[in-house]
Amino acid sequence: MKLDFAIAEANHSRAMDLLFGPDWYRPSDPERGFLAALYAASGTERRTLILGEIIEPLPNEVYWSPAKGLVMAHSYYSRAINRLQEMPGAGLINVHSHPGPRAGLAPPAPSPQDLDSDRNELGAVSRVLFPGRPIGAAIFSAGGGISAREYRFKRPTTRKEALRFARKGPSILFGDRVRIVGRRLRLQEGDPHRKAPPRPFDPVCTDSSILLWGERGQRLLSEISIGIAGLGGVGGIVAEYLARLGVGRLVLVDYDRLERENFNRSQGATRREAAHRIPKVKVYSRVTRAAATAPRFRVVAKRASAAEEDGIRNLLNCDILIGSADDAFARQVLDHASYAHLIPVIDGGTVLVSRPDSTIIAAGKCQIASSGVGHPCLECQGVYTREEATVARESASWGKYLDTDHSSPASEKELRAPSVICTNALVASLMVLRVLSIVLGTTPATTSGLQRYYLENGELQWGAIKECKPACRKNSFSGHGDSHHIPTGVDLRWEAIRKAERE
């Protein structure tokens, strides 16, 4: 399983201030450090260690000793452990600075003294923290490089084991990458001993976009992993766009099948696939493989619902999530995941209202919004309400059709809403532009917020909400990973399909 290290932008700024603040450079005191909460966030293929609340040192709790190096006092560890035991799921990370390199993002390597003190100090911590809580250490360099490592200490079960314990030592695993998550997403290498070369990109196929964001930007796209929840008219187009842009890895989650009824807005799908009712994840695995410009492109297809545990766990392997499921239940699940697991979510959808006996579209909107640390949540932006998410949980048909025809009983109504590929493509384009803005900073003014295009008058407007409402609690579980319960459940639409397919 891969290991990442993630930190919210605000925590990163505070950490850099504590480690390299204005008076940081003192010849006799070359390193600084602090302790912080550490959370584990698990997908099916990736585990992320997230730096949580920083427990700031008091005067003389962290100091430099010429003989011992950087010392964190026992009283500081005790205070930190007492605090962490009250925080469900929180482990401990020891963070310190390395004065060099002062430029470049190369991850700094721990010295033998660092590893030695970790073995002693963190080994002792492992005995007092509740079992299962993560323990780690990280180094920040003045240039901005970060490396992080996780320690797994064997917990002694007998007195004899306890005596031999310290000498035996722990297992150490370095995080492959560092994610700094805020309005933007920054990705850095995290393993100072990494031997594998960076993922390649194709400079010929992508030369037109390299003119915009350079080879560094293109390499970043080839390193990134994006999850797509829902492969309807919008999600399918987003998947192909991302593959063509050079994104290195896609995770596709959807439970539906391609059919003649949705063929007219399934870009890249064939009539044959529609006739055979092939699952959409399979169709778009083929489409994205054929369209990919990244040489080592990988696509993972999971026939599942993003609102259920196995669907969301696959998406938690990703760096950014696309929410195109058009369902308040799935939206709420993704909204929670974005904060707890520090994975930005870009949500999009379109609604059209027809006018009987006319070709005029009575009303229509195409909407996108981003959510996660540094952004207001989808709920506060009005993308869904708590009540809509509640009702969607208990009704398989909720939200599937617009009640415009009052002549037939509801039970006989076709569970369909009007849809057209061009509005789907419009939403998909806005969503992918948002991805580029968050990952590459291509259009800083469009990184956050809700954009809505009204078909009837052709206006593109911005939502008024710039931050979560004061009573919103999403930020209270930011970065809490697995210790925050994501409100998944049984997706009744998917359950009905599963039941029908079993029979």
């Binding site: 708590r386 998410a389 319960h485």
Partner: protein, 136 residues
């Protein structure tokens, strides 16, 4: 029913409810993402009415809103007349607790109510149910 399979925030809410007002609160069924929580001391407007009822709480509580109440007997107002607001006798929603006597469904929703933020808000939810019963 085994409550250990329910999500942690839901179990915290249930424990809090037991501690504060409803010592005998229990989950009798879970169906379509909703738990039927039996509250034996649910105060009814009519003194002669048998106590108790099942409040329907989403297993995602407190991130989902309560929806509906199931009772064994039709609810009555103080003057003895029946509560008719959103009353559905023998509705499908009663099925999970039908064998325990559940026969009357009141499809009350949390629409336009103050947002639920914490598992401990469950006490306020119960008071809301009691107010709805009193208002009829």
């Amino acid at each position: 029913m085994d409550e250990s399979s329910l999500p942690t925030p839901f179990r915290i809410a249930l424990e809090h409810l037991r501690e504060k007002t409803q010592a005998e609160a229990r989950v009798d069924a879970v169906c379509n993402n909703f738990a039927y929580v039996w509250v034996s001391d649910l105060r009814k407007a009519n003194a002669e009415a048998p106590p108790g009822g099942w409040i329907r709480l989403p297993t995602a509580f407190p991130f989902g809103n309560p929806h509906g109440l199931v009772t064994t007997e039709p609810l009555k107002r103080e003057d003895g007349s029946r509560v008719t607001d959103a009353h559905h006798p023998n509705h499908d929603m009663c099925k999970p607790v039908q064998s325990l006597g559940g026969a009357n469904y009141y499809s009350w929703t949390w629409q336009d109510c103050p947002p639920i933020r914490d598992p401990r808000d469950i006490v306020g939810v119960l008071q809301w149910y009691e107010r709805r019963i009193r208002r009829g």
